[in-house]
């Protein structure tokens, strides 16, 4: 039934009786969970299947009896009829805190239990305001539902004796607290402590004055805050995004996939057609959708709140054609005709540059067009190595939740919580379950807190660390540079190498911290070698994971795209450019010259970006919310998303436009149905062989059971009925034997001045984030981070304004000082308007 249960079949099962039904569950299962597995509801408020039980709310009180044992003989005592004698304790017990035991008898239907439930509800309602008609939770509220089912129906509490408490307490700028509604279940505080290790909220005071407060400045400073509103069993915690926006029963639900990062969290988009939006359908909120193999039941705040770009009024809805200096509206026929004509004449001098948020169908069709024209298919990304992930990526059936003692996870060059929050969370949990976690990074990151082994290297030595690990247990290559030899003497590297050698399973995550595309390629190749050399490829829970910068970067590689090591040269060499879902000029102002000189530029975009402004033809596209498609995540899971709202008239899906362009080139590509486009793709790409939309939509029973009618049990996260996706076999599993490919390393250049290194921040100044106003205070402003020593040398104080000169661009920035930054290094965030594409010399002035 579930992973837990499947494991349990082999292990010891405990037989017990719940409400007169025989139940068999693994040892250690709590009574409430045993009941849930048997389809019996024991109501709860404070208990949550993802957290340790606390037994606070007392809603799950049940009668629990255990077989009587004769003390002398140690044998069970029997009744006259031969049935075992059952002793019930003098008190009711909380089903959420008691593990099952052999022969246990649980009764949840007796009068005593029914009364106890009624009493707990009655107690809770003495302080609850019962303002359901104006409460956002109304309609999907555990307290409301359980009151209807178990409550007394009439109040004996004098209404005037209710306490008035503050109803609009901002815990941060994303989450509001209604103190009257809070039933002190501590789900939110426990989530922040236990699950995401951001203990920034907690209880203050005691008794009825007990109140949730925030300890952080700014308030509720966590990337995970939105999840607390899902598990809050009342309307005490609401998001700024959704509060007072709609009633749950007015909402439509549409399965989707978050494309902000490469985790591929399963989401549900709640939409409504509403008067205040001019009769349009709008997305009211983004909710997590359960996929225990990907995001469990959580999403990060970026995924939850950064969705507003899809509904921006600035979106393009009409093709534009350049007439002199201006871009003028045109019909689709005119635009496609022009593009087709021009592309036909490009004669090998053609390149497509596509962004990592496009779908597999888009990439496939664009790649077909590009191949037909003999051009290059380039992925707009800061990372490389996707072809290696396709080969030695994690095998079919990989689930980070399966990692435990004996398994090893190596995370190198990644600030994982910033780059892929859910990967951070699931690796943290793996480490807590006992998997050996090795974190290699030049500076301290949040993942360090749960790591078993830390490797500190200098920026530029990323691949050298991996080579040193390889060298420590295999014949040493003579041509290794000094940095490898030096790292070979590093105790932590040696110990990590031993961990890797003795690992049952090994997964290596490589990120983009401090790297450019070339560096990323070298690192990916080193990591792939490590996995191949130790035999950790071609099976589940083993292999390489790239912490990609966008949701479907892996899909691009699989379709034949590759990142360019020198984008300017590649673009300049192909003066006919097809830019899809990317804004190279916006990201790199130095590319403006290339585009000035280009012969013909087509841009497919949502918005009139800097690149689009320089285009000859601009074609308006649909965001993922208005169409369907598939993404392939970093763990190579192919997942399907569905249209949430009707397409805005005038715009078309990227794959459809590419297919229509292809028509002029004599290509027969699917331009209408994404599912058919996917069929064509699956027929051509071995990695996607036999996959269909139908298969991607398959689901199976997951644990814990959430959503459905019993919202109270796991919160308002959506049950997954639309597809868990499929992880197809990797190249290694398909019998392609990946070869060791050794890239010779060189030592990082000796430098005199400061070195700027790129780092990734969750809330950058990308278009998807800056169109969500509610995240405004979270937007990373242009800044640099330096060590206290360097700051002192430069005479910079915390928060001081500084000027940097980086890659020929001068920019004003705020200076941050952090003792986690190594001396001589300046951290420069990506995508905040600063000119950083890889490690580069930087001048910092006060």
């Amino acid at each position: 039934m579930t992973e837990k249960i499947a494991v349990a079949v082999a292990e010891n099962l405990i037989n017990l009786t719940i409400d007169n039904r025989e139940v068999s569950v693994p040892a250690g299962t709590l009574v409430v969970n045993a009941a849930k597995l048997a389809g019996i509801d024991i109501p709860v408020f404070c208990y949550h299947p993802k957290m340790e039980p606390v037994g606070m709310c007392r809603m799950c009180l049940v009668e629990i009896g255990r077989p009587a044992i004769d003390r002398a003989s140690g044998k069970p005592l029997l009744n006259k009829d031969g049935s075992p004698q059952i002793n019930f304790g003098p008190k009711l017990e909380t089903g959420c805190t008691v593990p099952v035991s052999k022969g246990m008898v649980v009764r949840g239907y007796t009068e005593e239990v029914t009364e106890a439930r009624k009493e707990v509800i009655e107690f809770l309602l003495t302080s609850h305001p019962l303002d359901c008609p104006i409460c956002d939770k109304g309609g999907e509220c555990p307290l409301q539902n359980l009151t209807m089912e178990h409550g007394p129906g009439q109040s004996r509490f004098i209404f005037d004796e209710k306490i008035d408490l503050a109803k609009n307490v901002p815990l941060g700028d994303l989450i509001f607290l209604d103190r009257e509604r809070c039933i002190q279940c501590a789900r939110c505080t426990r989530f922040q402590d236990e699950i995401v290790d951001d203990p920034v909220i907690g209880f203050s005071q005691r008794g009825r004055a007990l109140e949730i407060i925030t300890f952080s400045d700014p308030g509720f400073d966590s990337y995970w805050s939105g999840n607390t509103t899902d598990i809050c069993p009342v309307g005490a915690l609401t998001t700024t995004d959704f509060r007072f926006e709609a009633r749950p029963w007015e909402l439509q639900s549409h399965a989707s996939i978050c494309n902000h990062c490469s985790v591929g969290c399963n989401t549900t988009l709640n939409t409504r057609r509403e008067a205040k939006s001019g009769g349009d359908e709008v997305i009211k909120r983004v909710m997590p959708r359960q996929n225990e193999q990907v995001n469990e039941i959580w999403i990060c705040d970026k995924g939850r709140f950064a969705h507003h770009y899809t509904e921006s009024p600035d979106r393009l809805t009409q093709p534009l054609i350049r007439k002199g200096d201006a871009l003028e509206p045109a019909t689709w026929d005119e635009a496609l005709q022009l593009v087709g004509d021009k592309f036909k004449k490009s004669k090998g001098k053609f390149a497509a540059l596509a962004g990592g948020r496009l779908t597999n169908e888009d990439f496939f069709n664009i790649q077909q067009v590009t191949a037909k024209l003999g051009g290059k298919a380039l992925l707009d990304s800061q990372m490389a190595g996707g072809e290696m992930v396709a080969q030695v990526g994690v095998g079919q059936g990989t689930n980070l939740s399966d990692l435990r003692a004996g398994d090893v996870v190596l995370v190198i060059a990644s600030d994982l919580e910033e780059e892929a929050p859910l990967h951070w969370l699931r690796i943290k949990q793996a480490a807590e379950r006992g998997a050996q976690l090795i974190v290699a990074n030049p500076r301290r990151t949040k993942l360090d807190q749960v790591a078993h082994r830390l490797i500190r290297y200098e920026y530029g030595q990323e691949a050298a660390v991996v080579h040193a690990m390889l060298d420590s247990f295999s014949p040493k290559r003579p041509d290794q540079p000094a940095s490898v030899k030096q790292l070979l003497r590093d105790e932590s590297v040696k110990a990590a190498a031993e961990d890797v050698q003795s690992a049952t399973n090994l997964i290596v995550f490589y990120g983009s911290e401090g790297l450019d595309v070339a560096g990323s390629h070298t690192l990916a190749s080193a990591c792939a070698n490590l996995l191949i050399a130790t035999g950790h490829v071609g099976r589940s829970n083993n292999g390489l994971v790239a912490v990609w910068d966008k949701g479907n970067a892996q899909g691009a590689w699989d379709a034949g795209f590759a990142t360019s090591v020198n984008l300017a040269d590649d673009l300049a060499a192909a003066p006919n450019l097809y830019i899809v879902g990317a804004d190279p000029v916006g990201d790199r102002p130095d590319l403006a010259e290339t585009f000035e000189a280009a012969e013909f530029v087509v841009v497919q975009e949502l918005f009139l970006t800097k690149t689009a402004q320089m285009a000859d033809v601009v074609l308006p596209v649909l965001p993922y919310t208005e169409r369907e498609g598939t993404y392939t995540n970093a763990e190579r899971r192919v997942q399907r998303f569905y249209p949430a709202i009707s397409p805005r008239p005038g715009a078309r899906a990227d794959f459809a436009i590419a297919a229509q362009i292809g028509l002029a080139l004599g290509l027969e590509l699917e331009s209408k149905l994404a599912s058919l486009a996917f069929e064509q793709l699956a027929a051509r790409l071995p990695a996607y062989k036999d996959l269909t939309y139908g298969k991607l939509a398959e689901t199976f029973e997951q644990w814990p059971i959430i959503g459905r009618e019993d919202l109270y049990y796991g919160g308002t996260t959506y049950d997954n009925t639309q597809g868990l996706g499929v992880q197809p076999p990797s190249g290694a599993e398909r019998g392609e034997s990946p070869a060791l490919s050794f890239e010779a390393l060189t030592d990082p250049e000796k430098r005199k001045g400061l070195l700027a290194v790129p780092v990734t921040r969750l809330y950058d100044l990308g278009l998807t984030v800056t169109t969500s106003e509610i995240l405004a205070t979270h937007w990373e402003q242009p800044h640099i981070v330096l060590s206290p020593a360097d700051a002192e040398k430069l005479g910079l104080e915390l928060g001081a304004q500084a000027t940097i000169k980086l890659n020929n661009m001068q920019s004003p920035v705020a200076a941050r000082i952090d003792n986690r930054v190594p001396k001589g290094v300046v951290l420069v965030p990506r995508s905040v308007g600063l000119h950083i594409f890889g490690p580069a010399p930087i001048e910092v002035g006060a």
């Binding site: 037994g55 606070m56 009493e119 707990v120 107690f123 809770l124 209880f203 005691r206």
Partner: protein
């Protein structure tokens, strides 16, 4: 008592000074234990003495020490000096006036369970007392009775004092451990119990001050000697904190099994002239009310016999109530106390004590009807047995027992029906 076992300062005031305490064989038991006995032998002697925990539950002390998980180290001792029960004031006198005997008890316990760091958790109001204890502890370090490698053995021991921040709940052992760890003082789920999962998640003995103060003399004079006091199942002497409507309130150290009558009338000097005894609360505000009839007065005060008259011995804080007191006033007081002190962790106690407070207020001020008394009883009954820790139950004991046993006090307080209130309709 001819001679005290615990309140020895009453026989010799100077015992609070270290040289005097040492002269009278003080710390010889500790030295003998560390140099001559192994920890199990110390535990066995305490077990054989039949000493039961004086914090209220009366759990056999030696058995608790034996429960310490030997496969999980380090071990801790956490002394409960939170003494917050209304009417209880015995630990304070012990720590103030006979501090070294208490500290020696802590040290013996620590040795018996293999603990190198013992903590004394004092209620916040005991800040001056904590200061004094710190001075005593410093002196013990100077005399090499505390510190590293005591008496030339491998055994080391340090004692730390810690002040609470003013919460009754922190007298509950697991809430005390939470508070000691620097967290919000709320009780933990039990099981696991502290001897397997206690302070910082390690095996911990939590003992009351008075319990440990018994230990030095038990070690010195033997378990058999100790069993010469008290009853078979409740051996030893006990400090009874006597208060309420009695002529001579105060602490009295008497053998367990002494009758209420002897304590109240012989030692406590009886009641004021013209007053008669109406009720007894034997365990402070958490206590049921005993109807003070002859049967009750002749009941022996020990862990077995007090339940026969419908209450518990608890920490033996005997509150005497005379015929001038109406029970609706009394429970209004106790319920206010518990409403103020409820930690709020579990629903019935958090919401129920608040609700009870509103009702007892109404009853006491004559604003209630008989249905309110029944409602109060119902609310109290609904709290009982359904809470996370014992404190929820405590909050209801006085309420339900007084409504049951002193019904007339309530009947005279409430009118037969609620006065009609005018309902104003406004449109």
């Amino acid at each position: 008592m001819a001679e005290h076992i615990l309140l020895r300062h009453r026989d010799n005031k100077e015992i609070s000074k270290l040289p005097t305490y040492r002269k009278g064989s003080g710390f010889s038991a500790f030295e003998r234990a560390v140099t001559k006995l192994n920890p199990e032998e110390v535990t066995d002697i305490v077990f054989d003495s039949g000493l039961r925990g004086r914090g209220g539950a009366g759990f056999p002390t030696g058995l608790k020490w034996r429960f310490m998980d030997k496969n999980n180290w380090p071990h801790y001792v956490a002394v409960n000096a939170d003494e917050s029960e209304p009417g209880t004031f015995k630990d304070r006198e012990l720590m103030e006036s006979n501090p070294y005997q208490f500290l020696e008890g802590v040290m013996l316990c620590a040795y018996a369970v293999g603990c190198n760091d013992a903590y004394i958790y004092l209620r916040g109001e005991f800040w001056d007392l904590a200061h004094e204890l710190d001075k005593h502890i410093t002196k013990l370090h100077k005399e090499k009775l505390l510190g590293d490698q005591l008496f030339g053995t491998e055994y080391s021991l340090r004692i730390h004092t810690h002040l609470g921040a003013g919460a009754y709940i922190c007298g509950e052992e697991t809430a005390m451990l939470e508070s000691l760890e620097g967290k919000l003082g709320q009780p933990r789920l039990r099981p696991p119990f502290p001897p397997s999962f206690g302070l910082f998640g390690k095996p911990t003995v939590v003992n009351n001050v008075e319990t440990l103060a018994n230990v030095p003399l038990i070690l010195e004079k033997g378990a058999k000697w100790y069993r010469g006091f008290g009853t078979e199942k409740s051996p030893g002497t006990k400090i009874f904190s006597l208060s309420g409507n009695v002529m001579k309130p105060g602490n009295y150290e008497l053998p367990l099994g002494t009758t209420f009558r002897e304590l109240i009338f012989e030692h406590g000097g009886g009641l004021r002239e013209g007053r008669s005894i109406k009720a007894i609360m034997p365990a402070g505000a958490s206590s049921s009310l005993i109807v003070a009839n002859d049967v009750a007065l002749d009941t022996q005060m020990d862990y077995e016999n007090v339940p026969n008259v419908g209450a518990m011995l608890g920490s033996a804080s005997i509150i005497v109530i005379d015929d001038s007191v109406s029970m609706d006033w009394l429970i209004n007081k106790t319920v206010h106390f518990f409403e103020h002190e409820s930690c709020g962790k579990c629903t019935p106690c958090r919401e129920g004590t608040y609700w009870m407070k509103n009702i007892t207020e109404r009853i006491h001020h004559g604003e209630a009807v008989w249905d309110d008394v029944l409602l109060l009883n119902d609310v109290a009954t609904n709290i009982k047995g359904k809470c996370l820790c014992a404190l929820g139950d405590f909050a209801t004991e006085a309420v339900t027992s007084s409504i049951e046993r002193f019904r007339e006090d309530f009947e005279t307080r409430v009118p037969q029906s609620r006065p009609k209130t005018e309902v104003k309709l406004s449109l």
